[in-house]
Symmetry: D3
Subunit: 237 residues, 6 copies
C-alpha cells in the first residue's frame, strides 16, 4: 500500500492559489501533497542576446529551494556562492518545457522569467514547478493582453508535468519523496492533455528497464497529465 492509502494511478491532492504575489504579472502557489512551490512570472521588456534584432520573445526559468524546504536544513545556495548542478539542470528543464507551450513570435520582443521557489519539498518539485510555472506564464500573457501590450494570446496549449516510477515492481504515479528515494526507475514526463510529449527523462539508477515498462510508465503519466491540465485551466480561470 502507498502512503495515505493512495492508488497506484492516483495523484496527490493538488491545489493552486493563483495571485499569491499580487503585484507580479502572474503567480501561483501550487501544491501536490506536501510539496509546495511558489511560481512567479515576471515580464521584462528586454530580449536575451541571441534574439537581438528579431521580434521574438523568450521564456526562461529559475529554480530555488528554501533551506528548510526539506526535512533537514540544506545550506542556502546564495551563501554557498553557487547553484548546485541539480538546480541548474532543473531550471533548464523548466524553461525548455514552458517554451513548448508558447508562440515566441506572438509574445514579441520581451522576456518572461518564471521563478520557481520551493517552500516545502516532498518529491516532485521539478514537475510541480513546470505545472505551476505554466499557470503563472498563462496569467502573465493574459495580463499583457488586457494591457494591450500584445494582441493575440501566445499560449498554444497547457503543458503539464508529472513523475512516474517503478517501485517494488509496481508502476506508480506522482511519487512522494519516500517513494522516489526507493524507486528502481524514475521518470519525469512533460506533455499535453492530447497525449503528446514535450520532454521525457527516464532514469534507472543502477538498473535497466524495458521498452514495455517504458510504455506502462508513459500510459500512467498521461493519465495524470490529463487531470493536471484540467486543473491548470481551472486555476487560470
Amino acid at each position: 500500500m502507498r502512503p495515505e492509502g493512495r492508488q497506484n494511478d492516483e495523484l496527490r491532492k493538488m491545489t493552486f492559489e493563483p495571485n499569491f504575489i499580487p503585484h507580479a504579472e502572474g503567480s501561483v502557489l501550487v501544491s501536490f501533497g506536501r510539496t509546495r512551490v511558489l511560481c512567479v512570472a515576471s515580464v521584462e521588456e528586454k530580449q536575451p542576446q541571441h534574439l537581438t534584432g528579431t521580434q521574438k520573445g523568450w521564456v526562461t526559468a529559475e529554480y530555488g529551494m528554501l533551506p528548510r524546504a526539506t526535512q533537514t536544513r540544506n545550506k542556502r545556495e546564495a551563501a554557498k556562492g553557487q547553484q548546485t548542478g541539480r538546480t541548474v539542470e532543473i531550471q533548464r528543464l523548466i524553461g525548455r518545457s514552458l517554451r513548448a507551450s508558447i508562440d515566441l513570435d506572438l509574445l514579441g520582443p520581451r522576456t518572461v522569467t518564471i521563478d520557481c521557489d520551493v517552500l516545502q519539498a516532498d518529491g516532485g518539485t521539478r514537475t510541480a514547478s513546470i505545472t505551476g510555472g505554466f499557470v503563472a506564464l498563462a496569467m502573465a500573457c493574459r495580463r499583457l493582453r488586457s494591457q494591450g501590450v500584445i494582441i493575440q494570446d501566445p499560449i498554444k496549449f497547457p503543458v503539464a508535468a508529472i513523475s512516474v516510477g517503478i517501485l517494488d515492481g509496481q508502476v506508480r504515479l506522482d511519487l512522494e519523496y519516500e517513494e522516489d528515494s526507493r524507486a528502481d526507475v524514475d521518470m519525469n514526463v512533460i506533455g499535453t492533455a492530447k497525449g503528446d510529449l514535450v520532454e521525457v527523462q527516464g532514469t534507472a539508477e543502477g538498473h535497466v528497464f524495458s521498452r514495455a515498462q517504458l510504455n506502462e510508465l508513459l500510459d500512467m503519466a498521461f493519465k495524470g497529465i490529463r487531470e493536471i491540465a484540467a486543473a491548470q485551466v481551472k486555476a487560470i480561470g
Copy 2:
C-alpha cells in the same frame, strides 16, 4: 496623509500564520501590510566553532529575498554567486537581535538557524524578519521542551522590531516602501515591551538629526514595539 489613511503612529495590518512549514521546529509567515516574510527555525545538534568545548548554544540567521518580492524583479543571489552587502548586514542584525532574547546556556550545545525569506517586500523587511524570527525561535524552543531535549525555557523575553522615520517633517511609525524611500531619517529599533533597547540603528542619508528628534523617534518606536510584542505572544500561543 499617509497611504491608506494610516495615522502617523499606526502600524500596518499585522498578521502571523504560525506553523506555515509544519515539519520545521518553528515557522511563521508574518506580514506587515504588503510585506510578507517566511521565518523558519531549524534546530541542529551542533555548535559553531567558537563554542566548541562549552555547553552553550547559538542562534544565527540567514536572510533572502525572492527575486520578484519587489515591484521589479531582482537578480537571484544564488545565480549571481554572492550575497549582497545589504543581505549580509541584515542577517547579522537579525542574529544579534534574536540572541538578546535567549539564554544560550539554557539552550544547550545546539544551533538554531532562523531563515527569513521575503516573499513580498514593501518596506520593513528586516524588522518583520526579527519580529517573525522571534516567533519561530520561541516555537522551536517550546518544541525542544516538549521533546524533553531541554528542561527549562531559554527564552528571556520577546524581542520585537519596527522602523520609524522622519518624512515631510513628521515622525512616522512602520514606514512602507514608498515612505521609506523619501524619508530624511530612517531608524530601526529593536527592543522589548518594557521599553529597553536591544539595538538601535538610525541613519540620515545626506542629512543630520537632533537629539530631540531621536527621542521622538524612539518614543514612537516603543509604542509600536509594545503592540507587536503582544501580537507575538498571541501568535506563539
Copy 3:
C-alpha cells in the same frame, strides 16, 4: 540527403584508440566522425562521503571541452571560474549511465573517476563520452583484476549511448552538429545491446512529439546501440 551521403539509420565512422594515456588505469580516444573525446579512468582508493562505512565503490564522471573543440573558440571554463549548466548536466548524466553498467559492491571501497574531455566537437559529445567512458571503465576494472585488487569483474554489461532525432520529418541516427541544431526532436538514448534502457532523454525544443514518434526514435536508437556495443567489446579486447 544527409551530409557525406549517410543513410538515416547509419552511424558515423566510429573509432577507438585504447590506451591513449598509458599511465592511466583505463583510457580511450573515441571518435564518431569529427567528434573526438578523450575518456580516461582514474582509480582512487577512497569513497565518496555517502558510502563511508560501507564496502561499496563509486563511479563518477567529469566532462570538459577544450576551448577550440568547436568551430569558433569558447571561453575556457577554468578561466571563467565556473562550469556551465550544460557541463554539469552532462557529467551527471555520464556518471549515472556508467553506474548502471557496474556492480558497485564488487568494485569495492574505491572510486573510479571518468574524465571525458572533448578535443573536437561535432554533435553527440555526451553520447560519445558515455560510450568511450564505458570502455575506459572496463579497462580500469580489468587492470584492477590483473593487479589482484579485485577478484571478480564488476562489469555487468556494456552501456552504449547514441543520439537520434527528427529532422525535416525524418528520423535520423547519430546527428552531427549541423543536423542537431536544426532538429525538431532530439533524443539521447543510453541502453544495452539486449534492448534495455538505462536512461532516455527526449526533448522537443518548441515542439511536441507523439508516442508513435517516440517508438520510431527508440527503434532506430537501439539499432545503433547494438553496433556500438559490439565495437566497445572489441576495443576493450
Copy 4:
C-alpha cells in the same frame, strides 16, 4: 582603571599625518592609540549608474585590513576571494556617513572613493576610518577647487565618529580592543561638532540597555566628537 590610566571620558592619543600618499587627491594616516588607518581619497570623473544623466557627484568608501593588523594574522580577503560581511557592513557605513558631510550637487558629476586600509587594529577601526576619511575627502575637495575643477567648497561640516560603551557598569569613551571585547553595550556615534547625529548604531550583544543609558552614552560620545572635529579641522589646515 582603564588601560594606561585613561579617564572614562578621555580619548586615546590621536594623530593625523596628512599627505601620507602624496600623489593622491587627499590622504591621511590617522591613529587613535594603537589603531592606525590609512585613508586615501581618489577622484574619478565618472558617476555611479544611478546618477547617470544628473549633475550630481558621489562619495563611496572601501575598507580593508592588512592581514597582520591584528595580534594574530588573519587570512587576506583577496586570497579568500571574498570580503567578509563585517567588511561590507563597515564600508557601507563609512560611505553613508561621509555623504552627510558634503553637498553632492556642488561636487558635480564625479566620484570620490575613500579607501580606508587598517595598518594596525586595536578597536575603533570603523570610527577612525570615518574620522580620517573625512579629512581625506576635505583635502580632495580643496585640491579640486585649487585646480578650478569646482568653484565652491562642497563640504558642509566636519563629520567625526567615535565609539562608546558600557563596561563593568561604566560608560567609557573610545574603547580599545581589550575593552570592546568585554563591553555589555557598544555604540558607534557619527555626528557633528554642533551635537547633531549623522548615524547611531548601538548594540547590546546578549543584553538590553535603557533609554537613560542611551542618553549617557550619547552625551559622552559628543564630548569626544567635539574634540575630534577640532583636530580634523587642524589636520586639513
Copy 5:
C-alpha cells in the same frame, strides 16, 4: 646515468603532429618523451582593450592540464572554480614568449589565442607549450596569408623553449619529471636559433647558483634550442 640512457645534453624524443584539430587555424600535438601538449591557435577579429584604436594585433595564451595528465589525478580547475597560480604564471609566460616571435603591426587588428592543453605531463610542459605554441601560431599566420587576410608574414623568427637544470652536480638538458623534482637549479630558457634570449627564468629552490653555472646552463640550453628550432621549421612545412 639518466633515465633511458640519455646523455646530459640530449633532448628527449620530440615529435610534432601538425593539424591535429583540422578546423582550427593552426594546431599541433607536440611531444617530448612522455610529455604531450595539444597546442591550438584561434584567430579572432577583435583586439584587446589596450589596443583599441590602433591597427596592432595581439597574441595571448591559455594553459590547462587534463586531470589525469599526471601520475595521480588532479582536481579539474574548472570544477575548483579557479586557475591555480602556477597555471596563470605559465600562460602569461607562453603569451609573452610568443609575442617576441611576431610583428604585431603586420598581424593587424586581430587576436591569436594559443590554447595549450597538456594531455600527458612528464616535466617540461611549459617549454613544450611554447615550442608547440609557436608552430600553431606560424600555421595560423600562413592560413591568414593564404586567405588574403594579411599580405606579409608577421613571423619574425622561430621561438623555442627548453628546460635545463643542475642535478647531482651535473648540468642536464630537457629534464623529465623525476629529474626536475630532484634538481638543485631549474631553468627555463626561451630563445632563438641564433642564440638570442627571449626570456630566462632560473631558480634555485633553497639554494644559490653562480654566474659560471648560469653560463654552463645557458650553453646547454642553446644547444637544445637550435635542434628544436630546426624541428619546428620542419613541422610547419
Copy 6:
C-alpha cells in the same frame, strides 16, 4: 638623463623603517624612491600540509597593493573576489626567494608568512618586497631566538633583489615606473652579496637580447645587490 639626475648604475634613495608594526614578529616599511612597501612577518606554530610529519619549517609570502598605490586607482582585489595573475606570480617569487635565505630545518615546525603590502608604487615593487621581506624575516627569527623558541639562527645569508633593464640602448639599475614601462629588456635579479644567484627572471617583451647584454645586466644588478645587502644588515641591527 635619468629622472632626478640618477646615474645609470645608481639606486634610488633607499630607506628602512624597522618595527613599523610593533606587535608583529618582524616588520619594516621599505622604500626605494617613491616605491613604499610594508613587509610584515607573522610566525604561526603550524606547518603546510606537505611538511606534516617532519620537523621542517616553511616561509611563504603574500603580496597586495592598496588601490591608490598607483597614479590612478585600481579596483581592490578583495572586492573583485580574486587575486590577479600578476599578484599570484609575484607572491610565489617572493616566497621562493626568501626560502633560499633560511635553513628550514633550523626554523623548525612553524610557518613564517611575509605579507608585502604596497602603499605606494613607482616600479620595482616585487624586488622591494623581497628586500624588505628578508629584513622582516630576519627580525622574526631573532625574536624567536630571544624567546627561546629556536636555539640557532636559521638565516643563512641576506637575500636582496633589484631590477635592471635596457632602455634607449643603455643598461640601467633600479628602474622607476616611467623607465620600466619603456624598457626593451627588464630583468629582476635576486641574489647574495657574494655574487650568487637565487633567481633570475629576464624578459624582452617583443624583443630579444644577447648573452653579452645578459652579462652586462647581471654585473650591474650585483653592484646594486651588494649595496642593498649592506643596508639590510644595518636595518636588522
